[in-house]
Structures are given as structure tokens and as C-alpha cells.
């Protein structure tokens, strides 16, 4: 939409406030196309009830193929051991850790959108929160995969839990790697709970609309007997608020703790106090970029442009611009501190990062993360779906390279020059990473097919029809509201 058209549509809404023009804030409508209660339910449930479009099948089959590749890579890894990867002394942390931090970072957007924006009463979150939360959960699943398999002897994984045993072996609670286990598991659990609580009214809608006995029973079982009574809603609202409060500190804590994996060690380039806030900003940055990519695909494939509106995309672009600039500031500050500390090891680590053996990765990171999002200063760019999509892809590439640069450059040039070496991934590193996209894509495709990807009950509260000061004509659909609401 050009800015001229945009202004025109705004004027249009001033003339017809019933379409959702906010009379107080004068803001863009959150749902366009004169949607009402019934049409929202039909549009969202229709995605599940209709046959999937060809695009869905293409994505699903590609994802399944990559998932098979993941299975093969894991089988080889477990059978042969971590020697199939490119890791060796001195780079003992390779792609597995890079991929872990990459995925767990992506998993930050969901909780930020659903919990933090909820507490800040950002109503625009309603359109994309369900989608972003699902993406978060699947990203956390992919993230948990990598530390799980990187232990090598996967059958001894229970050592990370404090289970009584006759070895007298106990997890080392002073290790940030163990904090990670708990931080990410708690984050995953809370995200799933939050997502599921929000889903209950919509699952009840799906149950009530179900045509087949099986669908009715499955949706019915997960709807936990929801009838939409006032009492149910009251409990629901309290539970949702409590979980939002619980999840909000997790947005900050999880990636802080992930950054401790590096910051608590003593390697130059890792041992940095700026890491926790810098990692959190980067996580939100990459998470929003991934939500952007997926939402753009979903709104195109399922014709949901009136719910995933340009306003949503523009707001996400602003978050990407903000967090991208914070990440850029952190990159600059790392260099400043390396110089200001006067520590030769620290200075060397950063000069090596920008101009050393992995300079190519560093400059990919800089151009993708710092330079490319700057285009979002322009409103035209924020309203161009193609630019939004491409820049978001760049951001995800850049954020993957950020973790690669941090992990590998510092390790490959450690304190002892005699041990310096150049790390390269093997075919199994690459196939495992590609395979994790298969896992993510498969889960995402199944989610879109079987679960309402938009919070039906919640988005109705931001419809013009729900506005007591709006046009009474918009209330015409009250009679057709589903039984669950």
C-alpha cells in the first residue's frame, strides 16, 4: 500500500468509523474488510475445515523431507558419535551450539508478543499472538534438540537432572550449561501452558463446529469442557493474566542465561558483561523476523490479509528496526570496550573477529543485522510486503551468523597460538541444521492445519462490533455468534 492510498484509506475510515477506526486514538483498525463476529469465526475455522491450498502441501512435503534428513543425521550421530561433526580442539563448540542459540532466540518473539505486549495493553498483538506463540514453542523444540544431541552419549542425558544415584554424581549447579537446561525447559513449559490456555475457547469453537465424530472428540478433549460461561471466562482471564505475568520475566531471563554460557567463561570475546541485554535484544530481533516471514506466508496462502493486516507487519518492522539498532550498538560497544579495557587479548579477539580468519562471517553478520533493517526507517519500506519479507530473511541469516561469529572466532583463536585452528562444518553439521528446519516446518504446517492460527475469541474484542461507541449496525452479527462465545 502506498502512503497515498494509506492516507486515503484512513480518510475513508474517518468517514465510516464503523470499520474499526479508533475514535480516541485515531489509529488504524486492527481488523479490516468490515469483518464481524461471524465472519471472523468462519474465516479462521475455515482454514482448518477447507482442504489445504497447494502452497500448504508444498511446504509440508518439503518439511517432511527435511525431517527425514534430520532423522538420518541423528541416527548417524548417535551411531558414530559427535566425531561426525566438524568440532575438534580448539573449536569444541560448533554448529550445534550456534543452532541452539539461533532457535532459542527465534523462540523469543512469541512470549514477547503474547505476554509483554499483553501486559502493556498493546491491542495489535491479538492478531498475531497465537501464531507467534506456536512458532515460539516449535522453535524451542528445535532449540532443545541441539543441546540434547550434542552430549554425544544421548542415553546418559538424565545426568543433567538432579536424580539420586549410586555414583554420587550430581549436576554442577555452578555451571551456566545447567542453568540453561532449567531456563529453557521452564520457558518451553510456560510457553506451552500460555498457548494452550489461550487456545481453550477456540478449541471449544472447533469442537462445536466439528462435522466428524473424531474431530468433535479430539477438540472436545482438549477444550476441557469449555462452555463459555461467565465463570469460565473469569477463570480464563485470571489464568491468562497470571501466566502473562509469569512469562514476562522469562523473556528477559532465558536468553540472559543462554548468554551466560559464553559470558561466564573466560575466553576473550565471550567474557563480556554486555552479553545478557545484547542477547535478549538479538533474540527479539530474530524472533520478530521469523514471525514476519511466517505471517507473510500464512496471510498470503490462507487469504487472511484482513486479520494479519499491514498494521501488524509495520509494527513488527518497527520492533525489528529498534532491536536491530540495539544489536548494532552492542557490536560497536564490544569494540569500544575491547579498546578501552587496554587488554591485549580482548583487543586481539575483536580485531580478529572483524579482520581475521572469519572476517567473511563477521561482515555477513554486520550487513544483515545492522545495515539491512535500517531500511525500515522509511514508511514505504515498512508497508512493502516484499521488502519486509526479504529483510526478515536477511535478519535471520545475520542472526545465525552472529552466533557463529561469537562461538567460532573466539574458540579458533584462543589463548594458546599453538592450538589455533580453522573450523569448518561437515556434511552432517549442515544436514542436521537443515533437518531442524524440517522439524520446525512440519510442526508449523500441522499447527496451521489443525489449530486455529488466530485467537478467534480474543480478536473479537478488538472488532468494531465490540466497541460500545461504534456504529450499532456493526452489531448485526450478534445473533450468529457461535455457542462457545
Amino acid at each position: 500500500m502506498s502512503s497515498h492510498e494509506h492516507t486515503a484509506s484512513l480518510l475513508d475510515q474517518v468517514a465510516r468509523p464503523a470499520t474499526g477506526y479508533d475514535p480516541v486514538g485515531g489509529r488504524d483498525p486492527l481488523v479490516t474488510d468490515r469483518a464481524d463476529f461471524a465472519s471472523i469465526t468462519n474465516d479462521v475455522c475455515g482454514v482448518i475445515e477447507r482442504k489445504p491450498p497447494v502452497g500448504w502441501w508444498v511446504f509440508f512435503l518439503i518439511s517432511l523431507g527435511l525431517l527425514g534428513l534430520l532423522g538420518l543425521s541423528l541416527a548417524v550421530l548417535v551411531y558414530e558419535g559427535t566425531g561426525v561433526w566438524g568440532i575438534n580442539s580448539p573449536v569444541g563448540w560448533g554448529w550445534a551450539i550456534v543452532n541452539f542459540v539461533f532457535w532459542v532466540g527465534i523462540g523469543h518473539a512469541g512470549t514477547l508478543i503474547s505476554a509483554v505486549l499483553f501486559l502493556f495493553r498493546q491491542k495489535w498483538r491479538t492478531g498475531i499472538n497465537r501464531f507467534a506463540e506456536a512458532m515460539t514453542i516449535f522453535a524451542v523444540v528445535c532449540a532443545l534438540l541441539f543441546p540434547t544431541i550434542h552430549v554425544g552419549r544421548i542415553w546418559l542425558l538424565h545426568y543433567v537432572f538432579p536424580i539420586p544415584n549410586q555414583m554420587g554424581a550430581w549436576p554442577n549447579f555452578r555451571s551456566p550449561l545447567l542453568w540453561d537446561v532449567f531456563a529453557v525447559s521452564i520457558y518451553g513449559t510456560t510457553s506451552i501452558l500460555f498457548w494452550y490456555i489461550g487456545l481453550i475457547p477456540d478449541l471449544a469453537t472447533m469442537r462445536d463446529r466439528a462435522k466428524s465424530k473424531i474431530a468433535q472428540r479430539v477438540y472436545g478433549a482438549f477444550a476441557l469442557g469449555w462452555r463459555g460461561s461467565t465463570r469460565h471466562w473469569q477463570h480464563y482471564e485470571v489464568a491468562y493474566l497470571l501466566l502473562a505475568g509469569l512469562a514476562t520475566p522469562l523473556v528477559l531471563s532465558v536468553h540472559s542465561i543462554v548468554s551466560f554460557d559464553f559470558a561466564v567463561s573466560q575466553l576473550p570475546g565471550w567474557h563480556t558483561t554486555i552479553f545478557p541485554p545484547y542477547f535478549v535484544a538479538g533474540a527479539i530481533f530474530s524472533g520478530f523476523a521469523m514471525v514476519m516471514n511466517l505471517v507473510i506466508l500464512a496471510r498470503w496462502a490462507f487469504k487472511l490479509e484482513h486479520i494479519f493486516t499491514m498494521k501488524h507487519l509495520e509494527n513488527m518492522a518497527r520492533v525489528i528496526l529498534l532491536t536491530g539498532s540495539m544489536v548494532g550498538y552492542a557490536y560497536a560497544m564490544e569494540f569500544f570496550i575491547a579498546w578501552y579495557s587496554g587488554n591485549p587479548n580482548e583487543s586481539f579477539a575483536f580485531i580478529n573477529r572483524a579482520f581475521g580468519n572469519y572476517a567473511w562471517a563477521y561482515w555477513i553478520m554486520m550487513s544483515c543485522n545492522v545495515i539491512s533493517p535500517q531500511i525500515f526507517w522509511f514508511k514505504k519500506a515498512r508497508n512493502n510486503v516484499f521488502i519486509l519479507f526479504v529483510v526478515s530473511v536477511f535478519v535471520n541469516i545475520g542472526m545465525w551468523f552472529e552466533r557463529f561469529v561469537i562461538t567460532v572466532t573466539s574458540l579458533s583463536r584462543d589463548f594458546l597460538p599453538a592450538s589455533w585452528d580453522y573450523y569448518s562444518p561437515t556434511i552432517w553439521d549442515i544436514s542436521t541444521f537443515l533437518g531442524s528446519f524440517g522439524l520446525f516446518g512440519t510442526l508449523m504446517c500441522l499447527f496451521i492445519r489443525f489449530v486455529p492460527q488466530i485467537a478467534i475469541a480474543e480478536i473479537k474484542t478488538v472488532l468494531p462490533a465490540a466497541d460500545p461507541h461504534g456504529d450499532p449496525a456493526a452489531h448485526k452479527s450478534h445473533g450468529t455468534v457461535e455457542g462457545a462465545h
Partner: protein, 214 residues
């Protein structure tokens, strides 16, 4: 709204809330108890090719442990003696005993008797007999009253936590300088301080991973 599920299904969440922790606790307990060395290893007493009695040799006759296991003060392993050690005496005593037929056969053919090892540690645990003996830890601390066993049986679990119990608090197990490590009757707990027998410096048994897992 149509009723889809019977009334008893309301009990499922409660059932899961109760059954989940119970099942988890049971699994952890089952592995911790039945899969532990103190359940699986203690009492292991395999039949040996020759019915050698430690009770007779070490107990009744009073042979020193080190007469046969002669590398224990210098080496990591306490050697199982070669047939030659048996024949030091058995060329003179019990020369015709049918119980010793295999020993004589081994002596004639030069083929070693295939004794069955009783006390086994995993390959990734590096145990050294000589440091323990030098520190004043006696044979019976780990092997029990072998002098009273006609058939040797494992009495301690040899689990990692069992090792660590002593490494964290060695004093009760360290013998005073006037008690021989081979003195089988010495009771654990009468030791006073964890001092090395030679120069009297403090004993600091390793508790870090690479102390035993190199």
C-alpha cells in the same frame, strides 16, 4: 451443548495429577535401587576353576596377603599370582591333592589357570592399589574379611558414591602407622587423623572428576 464425554472423564485430570508423580517417582526409585551396584554387585562370588580357600591360606595359616598379591605396594593392580607362586609350597605339601590337579596341570603345560575376577571396576575408573596401601588403607576396607571367606565374595558396592564417601572423609579408614594394612581384624573408625604414613603430611584424596577418570 451436546454431551460428548461421560461423567467419569472429569476424573482424568485428577488421575493424571496423582499418577504422574507416582509413576515418575517409582521409575526413579526402581532404577536407583534395583539398578545400583549395591543391589547388583554385592554378594558376587563366582566359582573358581580351583577351589582355593582364602580362609585356609590367609586366615588359618596366616599367610600375608602380599605373599601372593605381591605387586600391591608398587603397582596399580594387585596381581593375581602365577601358578609358580602356588608351587612354592605345593611341590612340598598336598602334592597329590585332587583339588590341586588343575594347578599341577598348569605347572606342567605352562598354561595359566583362568581365575575369575571378583572385584571389577569399569575401564574408565583408574584405581591404583599402591597409593591406597601407601596412605594406610587396609585390604579389608574394600575387600572385607577375606581371611574368613572360603569362597571370595564382594562385600562392598564399589560404586562411585561409595568411593567418594571415603575420599570426602578418609580419617576413619586410615590406619595408624603401627597397624599393618594387611591386618584383617582392624576395625574401621578407630583411625584418628588422615595423615600419610611416610612423612605425616595431610592426606587429600582427590574428589575432582579426573582424579579417577583420566
Amino acid at each position: 451443548m451436546a454431551v460428548i464425554f461421560p461423567r467419569w472423564t472429569n476424573l482424568i485430570p485428577l488421575g493424571l495429577a496423582v499418577a504422574g508423580p507416582v509413576v515418575l517417582g517409582t521409575v526413579v526409585f526402581a532404577v536407583w535401587y534395583w539398578n545400583s551396584p549395591s543391589f547388583l554387585e554385592v554378594g558376587y562370588s563366582p566359582a573358581q576353576p580351583v577351589p582355593f580357600s582364602h580362609k585356609l591360606h590367609a586366615g588359618d595359616l596366616g599367610l600375608d596377603c602380599r605373599y601372593c598379591h605381591n605387586t600391591v605396594e608398587r603397582g596399580a593392580a594387585a596381581a593375581v599370582p602365577p601358578t609358580a607362586t602356588c608351587m612354592n609350597c605345593h611341590t612340598k605339601v598336598q602334592t597329590e591333592s585332587p583339588k590341586l590337579a588343575k594347578i599341577r596341570e598348569s605347572w606342567e603345560t605352562g598354561k595359566a589357570v583362568e581365575w575369575v575376577r571378583v572385584h571389577m571396576l569399569p575401564d574408565y575408573a583408574f584405581f591404583n592399589h599402591s597409593v591406597h596401601v601407601a596412605a594406610g588403607i587396609g585390604c579389608s576396607s574394600c575387600h572385607g574379611r577375606v581371611d574368613q571367606m572360603a569362597v571370595v565374595s564382594q562385600v562392598e558396592p564399589l560404586s562411585m558414591s561409595w568411593c567418594l564417601d571415603c575420599h570426602r572423609n578418609p580419617a576413619p579408614h586410615v590406619r595408624p602407622a603401627n597397624v599393618a594394612v594387611t591386618d584383617m581384624a582392624w576395625e574401621v573408625g578407630s583411625g584418628t587423623a588422615a595423615k600419610a604414613r611416610g612423612d605425616g603430611r595431610d592426606l587429600v584424596p582427590p574428589e575432582h572428576c579426573s582424579g579417577c577418570h583420566r
